[in-house]
Amino acid sequence: MRVILRRSGSRPGGMALVAAGAVVLVTACAGGAPKKHAGTAEDPWVIGMSQCNLGEPWRVQMDADVRAAAEKHSNLKVIFKDAQNSSLTQRAQVEEFVDQGVDLLIISPKEAAPLTQPVAAAYQKGIPVIVLDREVQGDQYTQFIGADNVRIGREAGRWIRETLGGQGKIVELEGLMTSTPGQDRHQGFLEGLDLEHNPGLQIVFTGEMKWLEPDARTEMESALATNDHIDLVYAHNDPGAHGAWLAAKAAGREGEMKFVGIDGLPQEGQQYVAQGILDATFLYPTGGDVAIDEALKILGGQQVEKKIVLGTRIFTKDNIQQGGQPITN
């Protein structure tokens, strides 16, 4: 069996990769199965974390959550890789991790189809795989951890309906509607609003801002120009809600309406709520911390659930200092 050492790319920890690879090379030549680490402080377990795109702040947060959780355990070491939004790069990274003999693989895949096979190959070689946020096809992985955008949209819709008392004019600023999160956050929102039984609620303007703040501002300017009164803006992400607020503020109308976003990143949505820009944001959890907890269980030989659906949390002015309020039901 030959093991090909690859360059590790731009991430730090390249030396560690080469070292890990060298260990595999030695053991592989010896003809045995890839040697697993002992999981002690001297010989920590090595987890490979393949992130599909660190260009998105939310995914930077996911890596940060994984890192913060892993740092609490001296018997764990995590190697991070960024696929820079390319499925083929991510596929190569998964193969590299397998070659390097990691003890466990965490992958947040860019998309299902091209990554199902490499993930299955790693799984079949006896490497436990935790799939984060986006799913792969089939069942050839150890565990899936992810949030439910429909549910988060539904909670947002429900909160909006209750906050407005079933009466009001709403602007919806949509994410990229060719993406699943955009579709889900829209569908859940409509379910939560329940327009059929709340004829007083009205969506007066819908604009696709493609997750982008400048585009949200532009769409919101159109909404303001075509509507004399708006009660609430629901944006599919916090930058969108912030862009809407900027537009309303420029028109001197920010006091007229409420602003609701989704994602609740600590340095983004939560800050907007703390500053009184947004009235509410709903957490779209990264699951990074949960993934490390589950990884420790798996490495310790415990059985884990095949699928974990993460709950959401609402942040408002009243609870932001307490770290938000979990929504359970």
Binding site: T218, E219, S222, A225, L246, A251, E268
Partner: protein, 333 residues
């Protein structure tokens, strides 16, 4: 009926400016028809459109200069992002006053443009390749400077604890409006860039050199035009404009986002081309670019006002760019 006035009018109608104006007028008519319950007749809509196109328009000014030399600058969107991040970084975590931060950012943008210009002029690498490389490089640099995160007024202090700092006044200032709230500052910045570009192209010797190099580089060289220097200055100007646009973008977003401006270079190119400036170089002006900027700005505004679906917007924008260019070519085919 063929009096001197009539023929003069016909002559004027055949000029690129007149054709660009006609395209713009047609767009305004479309706006009057699809007026979104009268919203199109309100000044605030036009004011917001002008604010919205300003950043693109500033990029288009620099792009016009480069395209006139028969070049192209794909790096403007990334230089814009780098400048936005740099401006936010200098003023927020570094706490520099705006009077230092703005010149520093402008120097960086100009320097990056000069590097592109030198590679084009001295190394004889094709502008498309040089500026494509610069586009990737500057985006990477923007991510390094920002650490991959948006730079906001939520600043991590020396103690490692993040806390809110007051937004520097310069952000609100650039994003404010004057003349009784009727004109955005960024629009004035855009118009100043148009004026500066017009002076360079129409009134300075540099402008004549730019047209000469774009028209026929060999002939320009033989007649004593400093070709290399002209090219370097053209790309440096584009970098400078991108830096100006970046500062405006950061002020309007109230943050420095390393991902901002993706794809803006294509909008800027479209605006230049719709105005009638030839991608072959040597032909065109910033006046027609201004009209092109307004035409695309109105198109986007009308589509947005009427809440047209994204797919429709993309198809219409593509179709209208082609129509406008054909219209511009008119009879001199």
């Amino acid at each position: 009926m063929n009096g001197p006035t009539d023929s003069r009018l016909r002559g004027w109608l055949a000029t690129p400016v007149a054709r660009a104006l006609l395209a713009l007028a047609l767009m305004l008519v479309i706006g009057c028809v699809f007026n979104a319950d009268g919203a199109f007749f309100r000044w605030s809509v036009h004011r917001d459109m002008l604010r919205q196109v300003s950043v693109f328009g500033i990029l288009a000014c620099g792009m016009t200069v480069v395209i006139l030399t028969a070049g192209i600058d794909l790096s403007v969107s990334s230089v814009l992002a780098l400048s936005a991040v740099g401006f936010a970084w200098l003023t927020l975590p570094m706490g520099w006053p705006a009077v230092w931060a703005i010149p520093a950012v402008l120097v960086i943008g100009t320097a990056l443009g000069s590097v592109s210009g030198m590679l084009v002029a001295r190394m004889r690498i094709q502008p498309f390749i040089v500026t494509l490389a610069m586009m990737v490089f500057a985006r990477g640099l923007a991510k390094v400077v920002s650490g991959g995160q948006k730079i906001t007024n939520y600043v991590t202090g020396a103690d490692g604890v993040a806390h809110l700092v007051p937004m520097p006044r310069i952000f609100g200032l650039i994003d404010s409006r004057v003349v009784g709230g009727n004109v955005s500052i960024v629009t004035l910045v855009f118009l100043a860039c148009v004026l500066a570009t017009w002076i360079i192209l129409a009134r300075l010797r540099l402008g004549r050199h730019i047209y000469a190099v774009g028209g026929n580089e060999e002939a320009a060289r033989l007649s004593g035009v400093p070709v290399a220097r002209t090219l370097i200055v053209a790309y440096a100007l584009s970098g400078l404009m991108a830096a100006v646009a970046g500062i405006c973008q950061a002020a309007q977003e109230m943050q420095g986002d390393p991902e901002t401006g993706m794809g803006y270079e294509l909008d800027a190119i479209a605006m230049v081309v719709i105005g009638g400036t030839s991608l072959m170089g040597g032909k065109g002006s910033v006046t027609t670019t201004l009209i092109g900027v307004l035409t695309i700005g109105y198109l986007q505004k009308i589509l947005s006002l009427n809440a047209a679906p994204e797919a429709t917007r993309l198809m219409l924008t593509g179709a209208i760019i082609i129509c406008a260019v054909l219209f511009q070519r008119g009879r001199d085919r």
